[in-house]
Symmetry: D2
Subunit: 312 residues, 4 copies
């Protein structure tokens, strides 16, 4: 379980409170506030705070004095126009803050998105909990034979079991030795005659599937960019599940932006000049093949997949 | 006046509304919300939205699950510690959004602070209002003779009056010609036989004291950095008054951070290695002069000013 | 002319020097180095320095120890792959620095691109030259009737002439008064009895077509993003000509990246989920109209334009 | 050894080449170019490329056309002035690129500096080498009893030896199992009947002292900010040694900026308003104690340390 009873109680206390505000408020997101959406075996995503809503995007695009009196349909059309034409600054006017618990190797991918504010628990200062990610057997896959950076077939049961045993044993042993080196006063095997190794050193013995935590805050534009990359089918499964949980919060928070995002980003394809020229020839009735297309093999395959012609 | 009656009414409507939220709320800032704090002759600063409070800084520094149960004094001490040691990331967890009306030459200084989100009214799309900044006579000063980038003595009344006449005349003439070139359909002197010049071109005839507007959103860390530079005595008066109005909102919003900021930033001085060595020699009872100090003249003067020894 | 004789001489001196280096060097860009590419009536773009080349992108993508021994064709294919899949970080490994002279209203658009380093001439500190942008008659266009943010038909000769007279007169008058208020000691009409107004104040009287200058430095990824927006047909003409001059320098500097950029950015189109579905139906032989397409009018028109079916 | 023979040969080849350039060149840095400065047991820092020099900072501050003809002493004074008054943008005009090999737990601290360009070797794509950091016995210290985030006394020989055995054994075992799960075709114990686990999964079994590599590029301003934090006595030893190696490259590259940096950053102290008031009272001959100072205990101690009065 990702949360202790004390933590769960703290969350419930926070959820029980109500305040009065003049700020824009989104009931559907308020409903999710503070709750931990479980991800992987011990991780979670929690929405901690937010600022703005669909109308804030519109208000910024119009640099208006109040919330405006236009029809909802006009606002939705404006949001779609902004998204389609990549006018990104109005989407930067909404902000959201998450509390995330995630394995370190996922955190290392995630942190590459630089336009965000982050406060991570410090293993120089604190002792990390004994929690590490162990995949479900159905998530253990062989190296892909076609994509040097992806997964292929799922491992057979016996092999999966061997892999999980290794992962579990190594994580437990390295954590046990981590604790032994720390020699904390309240540890079971504390030995008063032995100094404890500095935390900033002992942590180097932990494996990359150890869980860490952070507060992560970003604006809606940068969040959507993050999600377009990490909720994508090419993203590693272990970060994609976080992106999917966050997409749920976006849907609750800014439904107009979410809809435009699905249409113009998640479901969109970019056609290069060469690809576009092939589409025009196809529309003109020409029988184009990869050889006559002017495209490389890889680009041809990608185009055919986009057009639902995988066999072409 | 910076606001029309319609704008004022829009603001009053926004202020009248109340919503229920689970989010951290700051009554003192709620009280200021949406209201235009007047700045210069036609400008203003309005707080439009905010996220977080003093406790959010503490919560991020501790990466905690709830709002915590520590004493207020402990939280204040932690904020001071973070500010003193330039642990800046917890301050990035609070966010604020302003609506600002300001002369273009001020906007050009302001925009150099890159770590912010901005939506400015577009003069390609909209027609700018006929409003331009004219200094009060007491703000018209001669070029400083000691600082190539500052002001010296205030102009005498007659000279100030001549300057103001020039500024006013030029601004009015260029605006009149701007409107003439636009040839808007609802203009008094609209001439149906004449095309209107594209807005994106006509705007080039406006002077730099014309007012523009933007939504400007940033996090508390970057806001404090902005304020430390722009509320400083060396900042140009016309941007300093905006910084001072914003400081009031910071004081209402995050009083603990504000206090630490005053102590460790606004009121602090940085001593170079050379300056520090002089201070130590003075404390040891040595009679140090500029010549024996090892400091350049300028640096010596700055040090003596910091130590309230201007004559030394 | 954008350059004085003294400036031209300084540039020639810089161009005459030769140094020995171990760094990657691009002869075609060296040939352009320091030379002013003229833009508009008084502006220019000059490449001042650069770092990296096509091979540096490849080297970073492979995190390799040297420059590698792969074939040029493999490197080109890798660059295309990176561009197509928006792996942007390897393109950040090349850096370029420009010196640009440009009208203030263009500078105001340009500065919105935040991921760059900028040093602009300070009108608090220096006196701006008497140079302002006056469009050529063929660049004076009426406000577009279909696009609220664009140009329509070119003005007729007589009207263009009236507009130019206004622009010239206003710029000259406001500059004359700027100089009068400054009352510089070496000015022809200097009056020793009169104080000079502080530069930081006098500048507010200048019009937005006054030229300014800056050093602008950015990495290749952010430069290409800038160029994709500003070399686009929807960009305002006065910034587009700067983007086009810079594109020439990119072509000389990193020909492999330039080619990929033309194919996958400049010449590419993004199809939304809805647009893609229409393309599939068209390819299946269905006669789709705007009404049956599920697309809005605007989106339909954009799709038909992309497919070279403007009448559809 | 951090480098294989093949890598060393690639570096020598790169170092042997010479090109002609018009760009500013710094012989002392050219001399270091591509060479690996060893750090820790298997790590290194290599300067790969650079752009600009001391004169580029001056040129940007003056927005000048050429390299200028001022005296070197004037340029040095200007650089000091810029550094003292935190005019940071001219320092952004120089850029440097490093190739760094470093333990993952160090990389995790380092990456928090967001204003840089990074390309890290991908463990989704490549197999990491069997190299992990093992501290020297004299670098193994106990947790500090006064600083929750630092080291205290060095471990005694026997204890250090036990710790090192644990670290080595765990790193070797987890790496062995990593390789076993990968089941690479060219591995000694390759088993054709067994699929290899996807690299993106297997990597989670590695410990945080495993070495990774990246290309890291930043501008001089952000580099100096990084170094002021990471070359500081409070930084963890394992990142400080990287900062110290990079400081050497800064000294060779921009000696004027380096000198100003040592005086105004590394050797400087910031006095809060409260601390400053204590210094003034001391200078006036008053006998101030912590109790009468108005400072907290911690702040008092910090001040006394700065003034070389540790016992006060």
């Amino acid at each position: 379980m990702p949360l202790s009873e004390a933590q769960q109680a703290e969350i419930e206390t926070a959820r029980a409170a109500r305040f009065e505000t003049r700020r824009a408020t989104v009931p559907a997101l308020e409903e999710m506030l503070f709750t931990a959406l479980p991800v992987l075996d011990h991780g979670f995503v929690r929405v901690i705070d937010y600022m703005g809503d669909d109308a804030a995007v519109v208000q910024a695009a119009r640099v208006s004095y109040g919330r405006g009196t236009r029809k909802v349909s006009e606002d939705k059309a404006l949001i779609k126009y902004l998204m389609r034409h990549r006018h990104s600054t109005p989407f930067e006017m909404c902000e959201i803050k998450y509390h995330v618990k995630l394995p370190i190797f996922v955190a290392r991918q995630w942190i590459r998105h630089r336009t965000a504010n982050v406060n991570e628990i410090s293993a120089r200062y604190s002792i990390l909990d004994k929690e590490f990610y162990l995949p479900r057997p159905e998530d253990l896959a062989a190296q892909s034979s076609v994509n040097r950076q992806g997964r292929g077939d799922i491992l057979e049961a016996e092999q999966a079991s061997m892999v999980l045993d290794l992962l579990r044993d190594d994580a437990e042993r390295t954590y046990r030795n981590y604790a032994w080196m720390l020699n904390e006063e309240d540890a079971e095997d504390h030995d008063a005659d032995r100094p404890g190794l500095a935390r900033e050193l002992a942590r180097m013995n932990l494996t990359l599937n150890t869980y860490t935590q952070w507060y992560w805050k970003t604006d809606l534009h940068n969040l959507l960019h993050f999600l377009s990359l990490r909720a994508d089918a090419h993203a590693q499964y272990e970060i994609r599940v976080y992106a999917e949980a966050m997409l749920e919060s976006v849907k609750a928070w800014v439904p107009g932006c979410y809809e435009a995002f699905c249409d113009y980003r998640l479901g969109a394809v970019s056609l290069s000049a060469g690809m576009l020229s092939v589409v025009k020839r196809l529309l003109a009735g020409e029988a184009v093949t990869q050889e006559t297309s002017g495209l490389g093999k890889r680009e041809w395959t990608e185009l055919m997949l986009s057009l639902d012609r995988p066999g072409a």
